[in-house]
């Protein structure tokens, strides 16, 4: 006869003001299997826990029910406690008489009666709970980091410095991401590349990091500790073991000056053979397969000029894509962001006005190594603009048409842009149209103050309604809500702080990894407050802007955070998985395969030879969908058997 102990918590007045704990104890004690019942003001406290421990010993309890707050809070607390008294971890159930009872009802008598039923339900469950052991899974101590921006770089370095192998996969030919495009970073005005390139070089030289650029993740299979990934190495048509990065091919290319350069946001044009930027890591040439004449047409004049020019004989048009298979224990997704396209902003010219640019484009104009050598000149005619309008919230905070969220970084980088513009063009006038100015980081408010007080940038509170070309000026129509007056500015140049958006292919990637994205396509964290770097898929973590708009300090923090989760996983040779999973009764299973389709985690497989379904215990997350769907009743869910559930329902039906 199983002996159950019931411990009813007052939770201070949270429970006790509505539910009568003594009455609950009195009622549940009538149950033949309840060998001991008591109540205490705070069960989770040390003395409360001590009560449970003593009771287990004195009354020789086999199972424990704690009637208190939600299991999400203290279930594990009490389960750990009972193991110290020699009971199995799973011989405890929480009866939630707070969130489910005292917090939602007013009538004391009714609430108490309901609480009794909730407790008896839990008692019925524990009666049939079996001793279970956690499932041990070996851990491959190698991490995959997807994305080579500052987030991916930081994560990779943290994991590598702790002594583990890291595979860093980056889609573009060089790492660096958007941070490499920036001129100076707020609030310190550090030269972006100067602070970043040492890390980029560290990554390239680190013995524990394998850098795969121009590569993409093709497929991800397996489970935490044991992921099987397929990575596609896209051909660069340049043998990087021979290429010295001298850059001669990039100048000789027949298409030199014809293809809009993405790194410079289209302000300059490059050839098909190119090096992303002078500080690229790896510093090797790549041939653009979408434009190169040899690749697209099989012919480039008499002979490709790059081949003729390359003294290292590194060009190889026979290169094919390579699929690399790797086993990793953890994956960190650090794919970053893109900017909302100006084409979507019809009221701002839909991207057709040459002197209306976005933030990254202005960064390239400001950059000392950019297309204008650090002089602020406008794209249309190269003139120095004397009146520049900065438009914040271009596409953000717009529930109607564009992105509903705040992109977080724009208030700061707009202040920075205005400040750097003024440093560059002393007699220039800068205007910033804003809704709010959000400066929540360390030193940020002070930085913004400098913009208004020292640089005399004019801040106008109001949205811009229209931007259009008028001769060689760009007309900006806005409003200053603080004076209530319409404002019309004939600007030389306009910088739009466009919204941050996730990568274009994020849906594809998230389904490959089986992780979730939210309503704005940002990758979903496991809990917005307490688990910001984990996903709900065990072993897959998040870092950086891929999870949501954020600035560099936050990105770097998150990256280290994600790394620490990976290191915790790698700190043991095996990984423990919850055993509350579904099973298959081989005698009852007819091999219909319905459960295989139902399983959202791909944990079930139809073994055609044996005519039954098998379960991968590590992939199963214990959701129970299969058990509900099985027409033969062949599926048992550990500690959630049909009999258990039927028994649990009974107390509810009693008066």
């Amino acid at each position: 006869m199983k002996r159950i102990g019931v411990f009813v918590c007052h939770c201070g007045i949270n429970v006790a003001s509505t539910v009568d704990p003594e009455k609950v104890v009195e009622e549940v004690s009538k149950h033949p299997n309840v060998a001991f019942a008591t109540n205490y003001v705070y069960m989770c406290s040390d003395p409360g826990q001590e009560t449970i421990r003593k009771a287990i010993e004195e009354h020789k309890l086999d199972g424990v029910v704690v009637a208190a707050c939600s299991p999400t809070l203290h279930q594990n607390t009490f389960r750990k406690l009972i193991t110290r008294s020699g009971l199995n971890y799973y011989q405890h159930e929480t009866a939630n008489i707070r969130e489910w009872c005292s917090w939602v009802h007013k009538d004391k008598e009714e609430a108490t009666r309901k609480a009794v039923k909730i407790v008896l339900t839990a008692v019925e469950k524990v009666l049939k709970d079996e001793n279970l052991e956690a499932i041990s899974v070996p851990v491959t101590k190698k991490a995959l980091v997807i994305g080579g921006g500052i987030a991916g770089i930081q994560t990779a370095l943290d994991i590598a410095n702790a002594g583990h192998q890291v595979l860093l996969v980056e889609k573009k030919p060089s790492i660096g991401g958007h941070m490499a495009q920036l001129s100076e970073t707020f609030p310190t005005l550090d030269c972006s590349q100067c602070i970043m390139t040492p890390r980029m070089v560290e990554v390239a030289q680190h013995p524990n990091i394998t850098l795969m650029t121009n590569s993409e993740v093709l497929e991800v299979g397996g489970y935490v500790g044991n992921f099987e990934v397929k990575i596609k190495k896209n051909p660069t048509y340049v043998d990087w073991s021979k290429c010295t990065g001298c850059g001669i091919c990039t100048k000789e290319c027949r298409l030199e000056g014809k293809i809009p350069d993405d790194f410079n946001q289209g302000l300059t044009k490059r050839g098909a053979a190119y090096i992303m930027f002078p500080q690229a890591v790896p510093l090797k040439a790549t041939i653009d397969p979408n434009n190169c004449l040899m690749v697209t047409r099989g012919k480039c004049g008499k002979e490709p000029k790059c081949v003729a020019a390359c003294t290292a004989e590194a060009i190889n048009f026979d290169m094919k894509e390579e699929i690399v298979e790797e086993k990793v224990g953890a994956i960190v997704t650090a794919t970053g962001y893109e900017l909302y396209s100006k084409k979507n902003l019809g009221e701002y010219g839909a991207g057709d006005i040459p002197d209306v640019v976005d933030g990254l484009t202005f960064e390239r104009i400001l950059s000392a190594s950019g297309p204008t050598n650090g002089e602020v000149r406008r794209p249309s005619d190269g003139q120095v603009p004397k009146e520049v309008v900065f438009v914040q919230c271009a596409g953000s905070r717009d529930k109607e048409f564009h992105r509903p969220y705040c992109s977080k970084i724009c208030c700061m980088y707009t202040a920075k842009h205005a400040m750097l513009y003024k440093h560059n063009v002393h007699d220039g006038q800068a205007y910033v149209f804003y809704i709010d100015v959000r400066t929540g980081g360390k030193g940020y408010e002070e930085f913004y103050d400098r913009t208004t007080e020292e640089e005399r940038v004019v801040y106008l509170r109001g949205k811009v309604s229209r931007i259009f070309q008028d001769g060689d000026k760009v007309m900006v129509w806005g409003i200053d809500t603080l004076t209530g007056k319409k404002v019309e500015i004939a600007a030389d140049m306009v910088v739009l702080a466009t919204a941050m958006v996730p990568q274009e292919d994020i849906k594809e990637l998230s389904s490959k990894l089986k992780i979730q994205i939210d309503e704005n396509d940002w990758l979903s964290e496991a809990h917005p407050k307490l688990r910001p770097v984990e996903t709900l898929t065990s072993g897959i973590f998040l870092a950086g802007a891929a999870q949501g708009p954020k600035d560099i300090p936050e990105t770097v923090s998150q990256a280290s955070g994600a790394a620490s989760k990976v290191l915790a996983l790698f700190s043991k040779d095996t990984f423990e998985r919850d055993p509350l999973i579904a099973d298959v009764d081989e005698d009852l299973c007819v091999g219909c395969g319905v459960c295989v389709e139902i399983c959202p985690y791909g944990a079930r497989e139809l073994d055609k030879a044996r005519g039954i379904v098998t379960v991968n215990p590590v992939l199963c997350e214990g959701c129970g969908a299969c058990a509900a769907g099985c027409p033969s009743g062949a599926i048992t869910h550990a500690n959630f058997s049909a009999k258990q559930i039927l028994n649990m329902v009974t107390p509810y039906l009693d008066k």
């Binding site: 019809g346 009221e347 839909a350 259009f468 070309q469 008028d470 007309m475």
Partner: protein, 298 residues
């Protein structure tokens, strides 16, 4: 000959008679007969949309009931305001059936209930989607070569976005019609800026300012005339130029026309149906160059 129900609206019978006459003639050439509704009432114009009073929707909806009574399930209208009013009333009852029920109760003296299944077309929409600008181009006998015309959409043809007729920020359907006529549609910034609408009654000076801005913008882009499909925009852009000239000496006269008036000329129809005598600023001189060598219109 395809037949479609035609809802004129009040102004088309009086101020904008030229608009109606040229449209009927032009559509006939394109094989479409505009069958004026046997009974119709004022749509109520945008007054019906200006407050949350459901009663005000009876005016536009009754016209849609008339469409069904005449045996049609689509209606075309020329006036931008009528289009806006009829379409939005229609969309409202389509999206909120409880409101439709209430309105049918208000209109319970009608013989049939309205079932929100009439399609409301603006002339431009019908031309674009049902006839096609290519067919229109083919029917042109006298291409308006070299003529620079500014397409003026104003507010009610494209806004709000839920009307869904053309792109809100950058509509192009009238520009395409102008191209089909053989003329050159001019690119200018004020094509969707408001003319001032009813303020012409209470604040004519404000409207004159709007007129000035719009006409100037079209003129600086080289336009020789501005086309519109709204009689109120027509009135403001045409009649208020005199007042605008008083404060802006640099304003040069700009003829305003309804969208089908130049189209009628391009189809080789008699210019008389354009009723240019109703224009304050006469556009006649624009077409003189197109006359045949004998000096008469073809």
């Amino acid at each position: 000959m395809t037949k479609i129900a035609y809802y004129p609206g009040c102004t088309l019978k009086d101020q904008a008679l030229g608009f109606e006459e040229t449209t009927i003639a032009v559509m006939k050439k394109l094989g479409v007969e505009l069958a004026e509704l046997s009974r119709w009432n004022c749509c109520g114009t945008v007054y019906s949309l200006s407050s949350d009073n459901l009663m005000l929707q009876t005016a536009p909806l009754r016209n849609l009931v008339r469409v069904k009574e005449d045996g049609y399930d689509a209606v075309v209208t020329l006036c931008s305001m009528c289009y806006n009013t009829l379409k939005r009333a229609n969309d409202l009852v389509r999206e909120e059936p409880e409101k439709l029920d209430k309105l049918n109760l208000f209109m319970n003296r009608e013989e049939v209930d309205y079932t929100s299944d009439v399609k409301v077309y603006h002339l431009l929409e019908y031309m674009r989607d049902e006839i096609g600008f290519d067919a229109i181009k083919k029917a042109v006998k006298l291409p308006l070569e070299g003529m620079k015309l500014a397409a003026y959409y104003g507010c009610l043809l494209t806004r709000p976005e839920t009307l869904g007729f053309d792109d809100v920020e950058n509509p192009t359907s009238l520009d395409k019609l102008i191209s089909a006529m053989g003329a050159e549609p001019v690119k200018y910034a004020y094509k969707t800026e408001c003319c001032g609408s009813y303020e012409t009654v209470s604040a004519p000076a404000a409207v004159a300012e709007r007129t000035y801005s719009i006409v100037k913008s079209a003129a600086s882009a080289g336009a020789q005339a501005i086309l519109t499909s709204c009689p109120l925009c027509f009135y403001n852009l045409d009649s208020r130029q005199k007042l605008a000239k008083k404060s802006h000496g640099d304003l040069k006269e700009m003829p305003i026309m309804y969208i089908t008036q130049p189209l009628a000329v391009a189809f080789g129809l008699d210019q008389e149906i354009c009723r240019f005598e109703r224009n304050q600023i006469k556009p006649d001189s624009l077409f003189e160059k197109l006359m045949s060598p004998s000096g008469e219109s073809t």
